[in-house]
């Protein structure tokens, strides 16, 4: 009995599984067999001639302590620069530094000291020598100053990261827009918001920041909007004013002298109904005008002195009826101060709409459209040197257009593996532009140097890059990523200095490509005209290829018909071939091939 109890207490964990005997397969039939010798290789002394005795043998042994490698990075400590106030110091205890009398007396005493006199005589003579030296000859004279410094193109174009500004909040948001401070490159304003639908959490901050380029620890100023900002722009005329478009469609403006809260916000009823994707300052006498675009299909003009309602409104309806339901959602805006009456809007549908601000009726406001992209146009900018040509960045390509050609871009990049999210021209060189992609790479293109690939491709970070802005000198650029990291990069001088003949070469290239597209367009038009006249004359009810007014269903039906025709033709051909093969092998008539 005792035994039983102890057995139970040992608690064996047993796994039992059952299987039907019939499922086991054939049983193993073991049989006894005596040992069998299969192979017996006897030593062959004659083989020793093939070998040499090695004596001594080198054997490597290692006898060391086991070590392990660790990397340690100290926690970033925050530094704060601050100035020191110099105050006259060192006065001996018996002298009150505030009392003029006492200080003068002290000074007089020192001046009478013999040591003082001697020392100063010595120092004085030495000093005089140097002063005279300075007056005689400029010892730091720059030789060869008159000669032009011929800057050679350094071997490789390069770019390096200068600084990285991380979103100080716990929950990271995307850096959706960057704006450089108008006077010089000392400050960068970055707008942060979460572009992912309904991913906004309760503890996600709404703040956007202005960073001082030297200090990556802490932003210089915080902007606190009511809703996260999607876009943010410094006023080029007044560097204290910034305007921002927010996720809920409102526009707000800040004055950095007045603090973090917006000075005024647009009224919700009159604002956009979708996030404001782009806001641009306009050229005006007062310097207070701006306009904004959003995917709700409207472009609104604002005067910041009166934000209660927009001064003007345009609905991007391509049928020119002002119908909001038909309207194209706007993703990007373009405005060039040299052409103040024109502006362009890049839409969600992949179409660029060119508009005239001074048109009398809203219908006339929309001048023309340029189509060619398959996805929303994230960036739209005219070439600063050749305003007739503009760059669009959308889907997987970047395209360069000429204003005169509506149907197609004149130049385009290849289709990339990752979506392009932003791009801009270099303000220093007409043939250079920058693009950023969703895989975190920055591409610098110089189409006078290489057209198929970017001149320089740099992986900035592991997450997607969402925004890009180049500073006015063309040398620094800022990229914003999905996790709110703004990276400041400096590019090599070759990429931001105007090369000899560059303008002429770029002009020639644009003209050539525009001409080519014009010729192609003319050809297409001719072909279409011919098709149309042909189909009008033909009696058979064939597919109406030439007609431009075809409905979508008719096109689909026509495409289906053509497809099946091709398939049937293929099958017939294969059937014939099969028959031929069969008859060959059936051997009815060995040599003769039956033609069917």
């Amino acid at each position: 009995q005792k035994k039983n109890i102890s057995l139970r207490l040992t608690m064996e964990i047993v796994y039992v599984y059952t299987k039907k005997r019939s499922e086991f397969g054939r049983q193993c039939n073991f049989s006894d067999k005596p040992a069998e010798l299969h192979v017996d290789i006897l030593p062959d002394p004659s083989l020793t001639d093939n070998f040499i005795d090695r004596d001594p043998c080198d054997v490597a042994i290692q006898c060391t302590q086991e070590m392990s490698e660790h990397e340690v990075n100290t926690e970033r400590f925050d530094c704060e620069p601050c100035g020191i106030n110099h105050v006259e110091g060192g006065w001996p205890k018996d002298v009150n530094s505030q009392e003029m009398e006492q200080t003068i007396r002290y000074r007089k005493k020192v001046e009478k000291d013999e040591n003082y006199v001697n020392t100063l005589m010595q120092l004085g003579s030495h000093m005089e020598h140097c002063i005279r030296q300075n007056n005689t000859i400029d010892i730091y004279q720059e030789y060869f100053e008159e000669e032009e410094i011929v800057e050679e193109m350094e071997g490789q174009p390069s770019a390096k990261t200068v600084n990285v500004f991380r979103d100080p909040n716990e929950v990271k948001r995307t850096a959706t827009s960057l704006s450089w401070h108008p006077d010089g490159s000392c400050k960068l304003a970055v707008a942060y918001s979460s572009m992912e639908f309904q991913k906004v959490t309760k503890d996600m901050s709404y703040d956007s920041y202005i960073w001082d380029l030297e200090n990556t620890n802490k932003p210089e100023m915080t902007l606190k909007p009511v809703s996260p900002l999607v876009c943010l722009e410094y006023n080029p005329k007044d560097s204290h004013i910034l305007i921002g478009g927010s996720y809920n469609g409102q526009i707000a403006y800040w004055d950095t002298r007045k603090g973090s809260q917006p000075v005024e916000m647009s009224a919700v009823e009159h604002s956009h109904r979708d996030p404001v994707y782009k806001v641009i300052w306009l050229q005006s006498k007062t310097g207070t005008d701006s306009f904004s675009a959003s995917t709700d299909g409207q472009v609104l003009w604002w005067d910041i002195r009166k934000m209660s309602e927009p001064t003007e409104r345009l609905v991007l309806d391509p049928s020119k009826k002002g119908n909001l339901d038909n309207a194209l959602g706007a993703f990007s805006l373009e405005f060039e101060t040299t052409m103040p009456t024109k502006f362009m809007v890049g839409t969600e549908q992949g179409v660029v709409v060119s508009c005239n601000r001074k048109a009398k009726t809203p219908a006339e406001k929309i001048v023309c459209t340029y189509s060619g992209h398959y996805g929303p146009i994230y960036a739209l900018q005219r070439n600063p040197f050749f305003p007739k040509n503009f760059l669009t960045v959308a889907d997987w390509t970047a395209r360069i257009w000429s204003e005169d050609i509506r149907d197609s871009s004149i130049m385009w990049t290849k289709y990339h593996m990752a979506y392009l999210s932003d791009g801009c021209w270099s303000p220093a060189r007409p043939s250079v532009f920058f693009t950023v992609k969703m895989d975190g790479t920055l591409d610098i293109w110089d189409f006078l140097f290489k057209q198929n690939d970017p001149t320089l491709s740099l992986k900035v970070c592991d997450e997607a890059l969402y925004s890009l802005r180049v500073q006015d000198n063309g040398r620094f650029l800022g990229c914003g990523s999905q996790l709110g990291t703004a990276t400041l990069l400096e590019i090599s001088s070759g990429l931001c200095t105007l090369q000899k003949n560059e303008k002429a070469l770029a002009t020639a290239m644009f003209e050539r490509e525009t001409k080519r597209e014009k010729i192609l367009e003319a050809c297409h038009r001719e072909m279409r005209l011919k098709e149309r006249s042909r189909s009008e004359q033909s009696k058979e009810d064939e597919a109406k290829d030439g007609e431009a007014e075809e409905s979508a269903e008719e096109l689909v039906a026509c495409a289906e018909r053509e497809f099946y025709e091709v398939v049937e033709a293929e099958m017939k051909k294969r059937g014939k071939d099969d028959k031929k093969e069969k008859e060959k092998y059936e051997g009815k008539d060995g040599c003769k091939e039956k033609e069917s």
């Binding site: 110099h86 105050v87 006259e88 110091g89 060192g90 006065w91 001996p92 002290y106 000074r107 020192v110 001046e111 040591n115 003082y116 006199v117 020392t119 100063l120 005589m121 010595q122 120092l123 004085g124 003579s125 030495h126 000093m127 005089e128 140097c130 002063i131 005279r132 300075n134 007056n135 005689t136 000859i137 400029d138 730091y140 004279q141």
Partner: protein
């Protein structure tokens, strides 16, 4: 004698100001206004100490004899001593003929 020397230094072409500071940082004599003097005295004292220690670190037998700081606008010359510092700010003449 000393007065003449100092006056002569101040009278040279291009000299903007002269300051004499003692080891405690007290300006003994100055031709500039007091706030500028205090600033120059404090900053240059520290810089001279640093320069001297640098020179002596490299070669303990060496010592700093003179310090010249050329900037875009002018040149600051510091003649150091154990007890005192003679500081002169000069604007080197631009109308010089090259040698």
């Amino acid at each position: 004698m000393l007065e003449e020397t100092l006056k002569r230094i101040q009278a040279h072409k291009g000299v903007i100001g002269t300051i004499v500071v003692n080891a405690e940082g007290i300006p003994i004599r100055t031709t500039l206004d007091s706030s500028t003097t205090v600033q120059y005295a404090g900053l240059l004292h520290q810089l001279t100490m640093k320069a001297r220690s640098t020179v002596r670190d490299i070669d303990p037998q060496n010592d700093l004899t003179f310090l010249r700081i050329r900037s875009k606008k002018h040149e600051i010359m510091v003649a150091p001593d154990k007890e005192y510092l003679l500081i002169v700010i000069q604007n080197p003449s631009e109308y010089l003929l090259p040698q």
